[in-house]
């Protein structure tokens, strides 16, 4: 068993070494699978369900890219990564793209040499506290013990916030969300802080969600989005425009229900036609098929549908669109035009 695994790996290694010069797109097409890095489990964003299927908001982005490139939304290998392993996994080529609620920051973009292709969720760090504590603002938290889920920018934001307001606190860094929850519910910390979306997702799983409040302050900007390696702009373009296609589809009213009918033949709206490939050569420019965007949208619907299915108000997580509404509805979700 062992020798042949190693042997197989060596052969693959020697074969792949020749192909390394090719772009990520060719690699993915040759492999027939997209390797997509996700979290090890955050309900609503990326988590395996009881049957072992990955479900979630970030997962939908991976599936859309796989559909655009390979025509099949299931041709994805989900690679669970931790806060520690995600960047190396991407840099060393273990994964083709990372969709793991990762905050877009300058140092990650410039120093770590990654390209953030866009923002699929505008988040911010918030606090959750038990109602009986009677705290309404994070500025009342002087001397409190704070549970932090490590592995993201959370620790830094927290330190900055408390330093700026000149109040003291005791951080308790915790590895996984489940353990942080156990600490918080047992009263080992007064408040739990992570991205507001994560807080909502966590609260949704509590026995008595109404006993806990999210404090009003959002102490940071957390634009979360998929990212790829620096230096392969063609691949970066594909991921960027797949995300934009989902967003534009919502803006133009293209949904998973009507996409078959709309893409059958060119309709009255030229932008929809260009998006769905019934007019123009946008797919060809990207090096993909003409129906790439249609395939991407058909997997799990447009941006709004993905949001509603995974984290929207009808789900236990119950996040409102807020900043993540379309720009036409007063939100920040905005896609450059398809032309």
């Amino acid at each position: 068993m062992n020798k042949s695994v190693l042997f197989g790996a060596m052969t693959v290694a020697s074969l792949a070494a020749g192909a390394a010069a090719a772009g990520t797109l060719e690699d993915v097409q040759a492999r027939g699978k997209l390797n997509c890095g996700v979290t090890t489990g955050l309900v609503g964003f990326a988590a395996p369900d009881a049957n072992g299927e990955w479900k979630g908001f970030d997962v939908a982005v991976c599936r859309a890219v796989a559909a655009a490139v390979l025509g099949d939304g299931n041709a994805v290998e989900f690679v669970p990564t931790t806060g520690k392993t995600r960047f190396t996994a991407l840099a060393s080529g273990e994964i083709d793209m990372l969709a793991r609620n990762t905050t877009w920051t300058l140092s990650r973009d410039v120093d770590l040499k990654f390209t953030f292709v866009g923002v699929n969720y505008y988040d911010g760090q918030g606090f959750m506290a038990p109602k009986e504590l009677g705290v309404s603002s994070a500025k009342d938290l002087d001397g409190a013990t704070v549970c932090i889920q490590t592995g993201t920018t959370t620790e830094l934001n927290l330190a900055d916030f408390f330093r700026a307001n000149n109040i003291s606190y005791e951080p308790v860094p915790i590895e996984t969300n489940a353990e942080a929850q156990q600490q918080y519910l047992a009263g080992a910390c007064d408040v739990f802080t992570t991205d507001a979306s994560g807080l909502a997702a966590t609260r949704a799983t509590f026995e008595n969600p109404q006993d806990h409040v999210l404090l009003s302050e959002i102490v940071s900007k957390e634009p979360l989005g998929p990212l790829v390696r620096h230096g392969d702009n063609e691949w970066g373009d594909i991921v960027r425009w797949t995300l934009n296609a989902l967003i534009t589809a919502e803006e133009l009213g293209v949904t998973s229900a009507n996409i078959a009918e709309m893409s059958a033949s060119a309709g009255g709206n030229p932008e929809i036609n260009r998006l769905l490939g019934t007019e123009g050569t946008l797919g060809e420019m990207l090096g993909l098929s003409a129906t790439w965007a249609k395939d991407a949208i058909a997997v799990s619907g447009n941006y709004g549908e993905v949001f509603e299915q995974n984290i929207g108000e009808s789900t236990p997580i119950g996040l409102a669109r807020g900043l993540n509404a379309q720009w036409t509805d007063g939100g920040l979700i905005y896609s450059p035009p398809f032309r």
């Binding site: 520690k84 990650r108 490590t150 620790e155 830094l156 951080p171 860094p173 600490q183 009263g187 390696r229």
Partner: protein
């Protein structure tokens, strides 16, 4: 009779490199050196190519940049504006602290369990073997998670102490056991050192330790003098009162002069304030490592005591030595020779296993340098290399101590 002379010069053949035992080892070493160099070159070349392709570089300057995060448990002054290097240093001290505490505690557990396992009380010895088997056969990772979980759930939260009819009460009114940690009264010097701010306690305790050391030497002088008198006259003067006075009077006087008071922790706001806090993560990892390693040490102790042949005890008895002196003069010195080497390797294991502190949120060096710093800077290679160097240094130091001990207690065979 032929006289064997040096092989004639110039008759060197290539095949001799492999067949002549004078050259064979050189040949093999040369081949090994070439293979090794090739392997290293291959790996290094891959690293360089990969890093170049990604536009990355190996750069340790991030160590000088502000860390940006806070650390809960720290032995030296540290703020979120301190450098990553200092954060790593805080982590190193925390690792050493928990390793030191766990070594002591594990030795206590291990010696107790090991001795009790040999007890002729059937129930106790069976209980101890159950303890040893259960803890030796379940991964330490699971134990750490279970013990941290038990601490969190079983101990009351600070808010349980609040209100008129609180669910929890302070122990004897001076200590609080909560799931955030244990708060005990902290000594404070109200006079002399009081005005010196944060340093006061530190200097105060240094002086106190100096006084204790002084007392130790004082007491030893008295005891030696007593022994001399005993050897000269056969009568040993009473030293108990003198010794007690030497031990305690100076210390008590020092405490009275400096106005030692104990600050009792009390619930203020979200947490207990004042006194000394021993954080829950520290207690959890400390206890988990101690009780886990204690099971291994118990086996070492048992084996060590059983290794002393029964004839030794009987021989000592035949010489008329009393039982407790047999233990201290005959059995223990021989058992220790067997116990100590594996004990030191258990200490090494504790130090290495303390890297699992990351699971309970204890800020050891794996959690600061190899955790948050690595996450925030993305400098994986640099952080992990430094981390390994640190553990390697500690291990080498401990092994050096072990070797020194082994050599000094080796049976001198003639």
């Amino acid at each position: 009779m032929t006289i064997i002379t040096d092989p004639p010069k110039g008759s060197f053949r290539l095949s001799m490199l492999l067949n002549d035992s004078r050259y064979r080892s050189l040949t093999l070493q040369a081949i090994a050196a070439i293979l090794l160099a090739l392997a290293i070159f291959y790996l290094a070349n891959n690293v360089v190519t990969n890093l170049q392709r990604l536009g990355l570089n190996i750069d340790f300057s991030f160590l000088g940049a502000p860390a940006g995060y806070d650390i809960n448990q720290r032995l030296i002054e540290y703020t979120s504006q301190s450098t990553n290097l200092k954060a790593a240093f805080v982590g190193i001290l925390n690792t050493l602290l928990v390793a030191f505490l766990a070594c002591i505690m594990a030795t206590i557990f291990g010696v107790f369990a090991g001795v009790l396992r040999l007890s002729n009380n059937w129930l106790v010895s069976k209980l101890m073997s159950i303890y040893v088997e259960i803890f030796r056969n379940i991964p330490v990772l699971i134990w750490i998670l279970i013990i941290y979980g038990i601490m969190t759930v079983v101990m009351p939260a600070p808010r349980a102490f609040r209100g008129e009819d609180a669910e929890a009460a302070m122990f004897l009114g001076i200590s609080a056991f909560t799931n955030r940690g244990v708060y005990i009264p902290g000594p404070e010097f109200s006079r002399i050192f009081g005005e010196m701010g944060i340093l006061s306690a530190g200097i105060g305790w240094l002086v106190a330790i100096a006084i204790i050391i002084g007392s130790f030497f004082g007491a030893r002088t008295v005891t030696r003098r007593a022994t001399r008198i005993q050897e000269a006259t056969g009568v040993r003067p009473a030293t108990l009162v003198t010794n007690l006075a030497i031990w305690f009077l100076p210390l008590i006087a020092f405490f009275i002069i400096t106005g030692l008071t104990f600050e009792i922790p009390e619930l203020k706001g979200f947490n207990f304030k004042g006194g000394i806090k021993i954080g829950a993560p520290l207690i959890a990892i400390w206890f988990a490592l101690s009780i886990y390693t204690g099971a291994f040490i118990a086996e070492n102790v048992r084996a060590g005591i059983q290794a002393v042949s029964k004839g030794q005890t009987e021989a000592a008895g035949a010489l008329g030595i009393r039982p407790n002196r047999i233990m201290s003069l005959v059995v223990l010195p021989q058992a220790l020779r067997v116990i100590i080497p594996p004990l030191i390797s258990q200490y090494l294991n504790i130090t290495k296993n303390s890297s699992l502190a990351i699971l309970v949120g204890y800020a050891d060096v794996t959690a600061t340098l190899g955790g948050i710093t690595l996450n925030q800077t993305g400098r994986a290679i640099e952080c992990i290399v430094l981390l390994m160097l640190f553990y390697l240094t500690i291990s080498l130091i401990i092994s050096a101590v072990a070797n020194f001990y082994n050599n000094s207690t080796k049976l001198k065979e003639r």
